[in-house]
Subunit: 356 residues, 2 copies
């Protein structure tokens, strides 16, 4: 059954959520989105795998990308969706309602509706956001078709409670290792305890005072944390290795290289292996388009703490913000649910700006 765009953005969200599209299984929902876009004569379409790009070509002097991913994390008995009311708030409950088919629905409705927006638009619906970086559909588009995404400003419809969250922190993970020598624990003086040697690693982490860094007017909170620790062979053996898995979230004013150097300096006495590294994105709220967008949708912009795909736009030199319905704390939760008035708010905010 084809998508019905004669309904509200809330009901369209529900239609999209009730078409399961776990990462790697986005074809059907991509086909359905393509089918409705094809009927809009003002859009030029492009598809790569299950990533779809729809562009207006009105000759406006400015262009804006509005993007959202169509995949979800695995369903856990939370599809089909249902409406529910909690404490007087109306929600649409189910997988994908927050992350991020509500955003996709708003974008789809406006893409078809707005034949003559005040700026040229490049709408993007993409695949594989919830899995490894190498598979990410937006990453694939930026690598293979950077010209296709050329724009002056980008909006990523990641859940942000229908308010603007600028940029994002960078993300680094490292494995810090200590080494020792095994022995029987009845003769521990023959060995060399690698877990004991990890004491200063934990001391450094426990004493660390994360920075709060103002970047382009927003204050980013950093974080340095052990997210895992492991060591030990058996109850009677002195362990010869201990590994502390460290996660560093760093402000977008710090480059990935600077973040690595900071970690290597902090843990200079230990073996450090960087296992994941993604630069952050500056909020770019000083861009004229960003200022106009902020004025149109209202509210006070906040920093985005988690890493999101806005960093891919930042990597292309495009200022980008997060703006979408849904509480990010409910993303991936079994009780994932979006307050339906946030869907309406985003729809109205974007329409107001794009038609002003």
């Amino acid at each position: 059954m084809a998508l019905d765009l004669s309904v509200s953005s809330i009901d369209l969200t529900r239609q999209l959520c009730d078409l399961p599209s776990e990462s790697g299984d986005e074809k059907r929902v991509a086909d359905d989105i393509w089918a409705v876009l094809e009927k809009a004569p003002h859009l030029e379409l492009f598809r790569d795998g299950d990533a779809i790009v729809a562009k207006t070509n009105l000759g406006r002097d400015r262009r804006v990308v509005i993007a959202g991913h169509i995949d979800t994390v695995p369903i856990n008995d939370n599809v089909p969706t249902r409406y529910e009311t909690l404490d007087g708030v109306d929600y649409l409950w189910g997988r994908g309602t927050v992350d991020m088919k509500a955003g996709c629905a708003v974008a789809l409705l406006l893409a078809v509706e707005l034949a003559e927006p005040t700026v040229d638009l490049t709408w993007v619906w993409y695949d594989h956001e919830e899995v490894s970086d190498a598979l990410n559909g937006l990453g694939r588009l930026t690598r293979l078709y950077p010209e296709l995404l050329r724009a002056d400003f980008a909006i990523l419809m990641e859940p942000s409670n229908a308010s603007v969250e600028g940029g994002c922190n960078g993300n680094l993970r490292a494995e810090i290792r200590t080494h020792g020598l095994r022995s029987h624990s009845a003769r521990s003086w023959i060995g060399d305890n690698a877990i004991h040697k990890a004491a200063p690693v934990l001391d450094i982490l426990a004493a660390y005072e994360p920075r709060q860094v103002e970047v382009d007017g927003l204050v980013y909170r950093e974080g340095l944390n052990a997210v895992g620790i492991s060591g030990g062979i058996a109850g009677n053996v002195i362990p010869d290795e201990c590994m502390v898995h460290v996660n560093y979230r760093f402000a977008p004013s710090r480059s990935a290289e600077e973040a690595v150097a900071h970690i290597r300096e902090l843990f200079g006495a230990f073996e450090v292996e960087i296992v994941d590294l993604a630069q952050g994105a500056r909020p770019g709220l000083d861009a004229p388009l960003a200022q106009e967008f902020l004025a149109a949708v209202g509210g006070t912009p906040a920093p985005k703490y988690g890493w999101t795909d806005v960093a891919r736009f930042a990597g292309l030199g495009i200022p980008a913000v997060n703006y979408g319905p849904g509480d990010p704390m409910k993303a991936h939760a079994d009780d994932e649910r979006v307050a339906v008035d946030q869907i309406t708010a985003c729809e109205q905010g974007l329409r107001a700006w794009l038609t002003a």
Copy 2:
């Protein structure tokens, strides 16, 4: 094929090792030992499961227990045994040669040979030493038939390089836990990192100076070590629990209760769960029989650091020492092997003492 006792204690060791008897599978070797003991008219036999007791009843005013376990840890391509020479030393190689069929062979040969020892003897061969405490054959005998083991002195033929190792350290294992609160690591300030809270646990362990305690003339080295550490849920989650697995080896002058109190005091700020506890055994070398035994076998007695079943005799009020062929560092090793002259030395040492 029945055991052939006309050979040397070395060759008898080989016969016993080539009859596999991993813990739980001791029946055949127990049957074979029983069969040769049955032919010795000076011995009164008793059997419980695969534990065998053979007693002389000569009316001597003193009685000595000589015991060894007949089970081994799992075979790992190291049976059948073979003779080999390394750096000019002749070895018998294979599973059980050290731990502890060489000791069992010496005991079996002497049990049958010595019809009129200078003290009454209670020979014990028992099962399930290499597995859980609840299954231990000597433990079962001490619980069910304490009178059967009544004696003035005990020798456990645990590998000790054919020299006397007195008593043993106690052994305690504890799980030290810290607790926190989960959150997404992009918003770590909402959570409470349990791994960071474990820093002082490792600091205590790293700074701890283990005691060296003289007990009845022997100096026991203690040890306090992390033998394991674990914590963490995922690379982007602040962990809400961390567990440090601690092993405390304590001198036999310290009771099990005192050891527990020491650990609870050291880690008073943390959740402490005692998961294993075994009291040590004083060396008992001041006992007259021990002095005579030491004089007969010669050498300088040393402390036993690992926990052994001598503690079970200590629990019955019987002074007990470890004395057996084989390097304890080779016990359980894939290249387990016993220097054959240590087998002969133990045989001669015991015979000299028991016939003096």
